[in-house]
């Protein structure tokens, strides 16, 4: 499959050349924010506030690395993915890709960026055009980026790509409705691969799939990473899935990252109360581990991102909250627990029961 990995390098800017020698991460996000205006009135629109969907997110992704982003609905993880593929413009902060700020990119630079950073969507039903065949869907991107695939070998390339994602290459002429959910997700993956990307943003790529099929797609994503050296930003709400596939994990709450570290750090030694509550809520699959974990039940709901609490955003639901939490916004840093956590009272507390803890 060396064929699918031709990466056209048309243009090398000063910044990108400097980045290549520096050993800096492929992608760096610093202080990223997206505020959506809340408007009132019909004729005269008046902005009455902002929904702070993403409010100061730092994140890095290295080459051939998978970074997991977990959080509950409304925490802003999907907005991060939209900002990353340049579907939305950030309110503040920067996305630095190969040494260049994406918001400063124009013209061919932006076009290149959009080719190199691809996306896989959650819903394999609505993310494929029902009137296009699988082959046309995979090849559609080449209309915009013709230099990725020479015109002559395209049919062969489509067959190779379908084969690469585990679909019968003869299915290129079938329509999306003739495929099952798992197969459709594979078409979506082939479409992303057709652009010879460097980074794939996976927004809940397996949430809509049944468990037996979910495992097939996760294995495929792992194989592709190993063979092609891809980087993934893997966004999901299923904590077990994220741990399985990620090298590093960041936990989001109400537009901020509250804890970040390797999968062993975050799952084995969670130090932010929210991470602890989140992990302790996940039902365990092993009968022997039932009831062994330290169950932390949160009360209430997530506050509105239009009006987040002062200081620490989690303090309204936190059992550790003190006066300082309302006054001072805790920075995401290591307070002696071994990895960064945005809590004034960060403390390692194991909540996930493991088979090692069992007697015998």
């Amino acid at each position: 499959m060396a064929d699918t990995q031709t990466r056209p390098e048309r243009r090398t800017s000063e910044a990108r050349r400097r980045w290549e020698g520096s050993g800096e991460p492929l992608l760096q996000i610093r202080g990223l924010a997206k505020h959506f205006p809340l408007q009132q009135g019909i004729v005269f629109k008046k902005t009455v506030g902002h929904v702070r969907a993403v409010d100061g997110v730092d994140l890095t992704v290295d080459r051939a690395e998978t970074v997991g982003l977990v959080g509950e609905s409304g925490c802003g993880k999907s907005t991060v993915s939209k900002l990353l593929v340049a579907l939305e413009r950030p309110t503040a902060g920067e996305i630095v890709y190969k040494g260049e700020d994406v918001s400063q990119m124009r013209g061919s630079a932006l076009k290149d960026y959009r080719r190199e950073v691809q996306m896989i969507f959650q819903d394999p039903y609505s993310s494929l055009n029902p009137r296009m065949t699988a082959g046309d869907i995979v090849a559609e991107g080449w209309a915009v980026h013709p230099d990725v695939a020479p015109r002559k070998g395209r049919d062969k390339r489509i067959r190779d790509l379908l084969d690469r994602v585990g679909l019968n290459a003869d299915y290129a002429n079938r329509y999306p409705h003739q495929f099952s959910g798992g197969q459709r997700q594979r078409i979506g993956i082939a479409r992303a691969l057709a652009m010879s990307p460097e980074l794939i943003v996976c927004d809940e790529p397996v949430s809509a799939l049944d468990v037996s099929v979910q495992a097939q797609v996760m294995n495929l994503l792992e194989d592709l990473q190993k063979d092609l050296g891809l980087s993934y930003l893997f966004i999901a709400h299923d904590l077990s899935v994220v741990r399985h596939i990620s090298h590093r994990v960041s936990v989001m709450y109400l537009g901020r990252i509250v804890e970040t570290g390797t999968d062993a750090d975050v799952y084995g030694h969670p130090s932010h109360p929210y991470t602890q509550a989140l992990l302790s809520s996940v039902p365990v699959h092993e009968p022997a581990l039932r009831g062994k974990g330290d169950r932390i039940l949160l009360s209430g709901d997530v506050p509105s991102p239009a009006n987040p609490p002062s200081g620490c955003r989690f303090r309204t639901r936190c059992w550790k909250a003190q006066d300082v939490c309302a006054e001072e916004d805790p920075q995401l840093r290591d307070r002696g627990q071994g990895h960064p956590s945005a809590c004034h009272f960060a403390e390692d507390h194991q909540v996930v029961p493991t088979t090692d803890d069992l007697p015998g």
């Binding site: 099952s180 468990v211 039902p283 581990l289």
Partner: protein, 360 residues
């Protein structure tokens, strides 16, 4: 299942019907309050006949939690909808028996059935927003149960709605009773639906994917609430889900469904630690674990069959590793339908080679 007892009338003494799975697994042994016996549901409309449920039998005792586990399209929800009498007949065609306290609901008239729905059996659904009526306040919808079934006055119904909202732990119930469904969060809406279902103290509650649409911390709250309510009322709980973790944490027994059939039943500990059917085993090895990185996932090949074209013989055989053993596979898997038979004390499985799985 063992030979069904017909015409035993209202008195249904323990022992008339031997159900070993229940006798050994659940300490709360008693006469089953609800029995489903050889239930078949077909959908006949234009196109091929869809065999959604093909001979499903299970029973539930007071205070017991029985999980029905399966992937999408396995017939788990349709079997529950048949119990509730909410399938449109035609196109649905239902045969078999559904006995509530010994009386077959399928033989009853509509009015008699209606008297069981509510005080006898009630149901909660996955998507609370679409299950609730958007143009009535939640108080009206909960109170309607008392008005329709008990002829309560408007004021009385409203008071009892407040009581129920308190019981399902909706904060400030008296202030919120006149609010509409859209004014509640997802978790609170689910509680409203639970309140409606519990209004008439049902003997059996069917919960169809009650927490699938909820975030994990809210899921933990709702499951906790359901368990507490069950303890207080002694109702039987049928929990329909695809989430193995939820099953492990709350259920006493499990029935695993595949292609419209129960393929395995038994206590959670037995089924989860030593599955007796290759499908159950495949599900177990498809899920990533939370407490460690784990190995590469070992998914089931292929996808579940269409219910309009269920494979002959064992419906799982095209995906089954057991069926492929030996020279050229095992002919009986493709030829003979394996009956759901006792494979160990208190356990049933529908596989020709269960013993090999258990002891081999």
């Amino acid at each position: 299942m063992t030979s069904p007892v017909h015409g035993s009338g209202g008195s249904h003494a323990a022992g008339t019907r031997i159900d070993d799975a229940q006798a050994t697994a659940s300490p709360r042994t008693g006469a089953p309050v609800l029995e489903v016996d050889d239930l078949h549901v077909e959908f006949r409309s234009r196109g091929p006949v869809v065999n959604a449920v093909n001979g499903v039998s299970y029973s539930i005792a007071p205070g017991e939690t029985m999980a029905i586990l399966g992937e999408s399209g396995c017939g788990k929800s349709v079997s529950a909808q048949a119990i509730m009498g909410i399938l449109d007949v035609p196109p649905a065609h239902i045969t078999g028996a559904i006995r509530f306290e010994g009386r077959d609901m399928l033989q009853m008239g509509a009015e008699e059935q209606r008297k069981i729905r509510g005080p006898g059996v009630s149901m909660i659904f996955q998507d609370a927003l679409s299950a609730l009526n958007p143009v009535y306040s939640v108080g009206d919808q909960i109170g309607e149960m008392f008005r329709a079934h008990q002829g309560a006055s408007k004021k009385e119904a409203r008071d009892r709605a407040v009581e129920l909202m308190d019981r399902v732990r909706i904060p400030a119930a008296r202030q919120r009773v006149d609010d509409y469904p859209h004014q509640f969060s997802g978790g609170m809406r689910q509680r409203v639906m639970i309140a409606m279902a519990l209004a008439l103290d049902p003997k059996v509650l069917i919960a169809d994917e009650p927490t699938t649409a909820l975030d994990v911390t809210v899921q933990a709250q709702v499951m906790d609430l359901l368990k507490d309510l069950q303890r207080d009322t002694g109702m039987g709980l049928i929990l329909i889900t695809h989430d193995l973790g939820v099953v492990n944490e709350v259920a006493d027994r499990v029935a695993v469904m595949y292609a419209g059939k129960v393929v395995e039943t038994g206590s959670i500990d037995d089924v989860f630690t030593r599955p007796a059917h290759p499908y159950t085993r495949g599900l177990m090895s498809s899920i990533p674990v939370l407490d460690g990185k784990g190995q590469r996932l070992n998914p089931i090949v292929g996808a579940p069959p269409s219910l309009a074209r269920i494979p002959a013989g064992c419906s799982f055989h095209p995906r089954c590793p057991m069926a492929r053993r030996g020279d050229g596979g095992r002919p009986d898997c493709a030829g003979d339908v394996p009956p759901l038979r006792e494979v160990a004390a208190g356990r049933r499985a529908a596989c020709h080679y269960s013993e090999e799985l258990l002891h081999g």
